[in-house]
Symmetry: C2
Subunit: 277 residues, 2 copies
């Protein structure tokens, strides 16, 4: 990378990229200030269905990250956009938390608890998931409801632990209903990328996707024509690149190191190395 600021638009994942729990990751604010001062377009893209866009906005504000509500997409919100676009009359049985219901209702999508009246089952991470919800969701799908999920992640790192995410709940409903989900909304889906690029209004090749997960963030960027940077502050390790075969354009130990490197104008960068296969 000759110039850290060479792109027109920058997409950031949140957890593991901007912050971990309540802790800001090093260099984030300096990097974002640098982008803002150069007039770059920014978007924050998270796969979480358990926080609303509003929740994410407040959190970024409280951590001192300069952003607007319109610069944030969550998998829950984009799921709502999907219904508004393709099934505005849907009657959705939600396996998920309150934030997901609020995002759907905010967009005017109807929600039901009745498996026989539901047209769709939308599955998101749900920390109150239990057998009866599994039974109800499977019953709705057997009765003809279309199965969708907010995001594919099977697990989610939190401070000191890894907890089950949407993908693991979805697996149980797929097995019990003997139907695979027809649509999975979050990164790396094309639909999520379309919504992001529409908001940014730039050509995907002028956009850098920065994230900490190879299978979602980096794959998402690659499959949708963006350049990609893996930050090593979250879930994916350098050795996972070879294991997964998902090779980012850039690997950054942290934003701090890549900013320092940029300031040194080093020609033989070890930090901002391009390890394209």
């Amino acid at each position: 990378m000759e110039d850290l600021y060479a792109y027109d638009a920058y997409c950031f994942d949140l957890d593991g990229t901007i912050y971990v729990g309540q802790m800001m990751l090093p260099g984030v604010n300096d990097f974002i200030s640098g982008l803002r001062s150069r007039g770059k377009r920014l978007l924050f893209l998270t796969n979480t269905p358990v926080h609303t866009r509003e929740d994410c906005y407040k959190r970024l504000q409280s951590l001192g990250v300069s952003c607007q509500l319109g610069e944030i997409l969550t998998a829950g919100y984009v799921s709502g956009m999907y219904f508004a676009e393709y099934a505005p009359d849907a009657n959705v049985l939600v396996v998920g938390e309150e934030a997901l219901r609020r995002e759907l209702q905010g967009i005017g999508i109807a929600i039901t608890e009745d498996p026989y009246r539901s047209t769709h089952v939308l599955v998101g991470m749900d920390r109150q998931f239990h057998y009866d919800k599994l039974h109800l969701a499977a019953k709705a799908v057997r009765h003809g409801a279309v199965l969708l999920a907010t995001n594919p992640d099977s697990c989610c790192p939190v401070q000191g632990d890894i907890i089950p995410d949407t993908g693991s709940i979805l697996s149980s409903i797929e097995a019990a209903s003997q139907q695979k989900a027809s649509v999975v909304i979050g990164k790396p889906s094309r639909y999520y990328a379309e919504k992001a690029l529409q908001l940014l209004n730039v050509n995907s090749s002028r956009c850098l996707m920065i994230g900490d997960r190879l299978e979602t963030d980096i794959l998402f960027g690659q499959q949708n024509g963006m350049k990609t940077a893996l930050v090593l502050t979250g879930i994916s390790l350098r050795e996972d690149i070879q294991k997964t075969g998902i090779v980012p354009d850039y690997i950054w130990p942290s934003f701090n190191e890549c900013i320092m490197e940029q300031q040194d104008h080093s020609k033989h960068s070890t930090v901002l190395q391009v390890e394209k296969a």
Copy 2:
């Protein structure tokens, strides 16, 4: 089938074969009496982990089926036999119901709630399954515990409904832990067949497996050298034979019809037809 009583031993599935809910299926008692009077060896093989052998024995007794406790194998009990044989010092984290715990404890297998002290995670159908159990089980597996399941069934027919079974709960734990189960005990497993054949003490080719599920009962018989009869009183339909490619040796609409057919000594049987592919 020239003679309904041509075999030395007969294995019966329970649900959908002997009874559905509290209702005995037609001809069961007559058929079993016929076998008893001819001195045949019998075994009742169920994939359920939510009833103990004792529960099944009492139920069969209450429905008037002549049997002994030693003629019954459940997936939960055979899971206990597996631990006793291959991992007698196991410390098992159980995702399952009380019956499964009782079967393990009855065989002297230690049970723990601590994911860091468990050596194995055993998954069975659990109508009190919830997110925290999913989290705990996945944590144990990530920490090195071996993942096993009592039976593969993803769903289970009950009167007027289909409910999630072991396989769907297992799927969520496999996804969250990113590990596939190393052993699945119930039908159609070889281990379950070994235990059954040891009890019967007959050559598998002299044994007829009778059940209502192609993917478990009939496949179980076929994979383990037995002859097989599908009764159409439970979950599998005649048309499922072509769909699954699992072809039983005999197809019986019910025991009643196959006994009547036998009494007619019909040479051109339509009921006891052999439809081997």
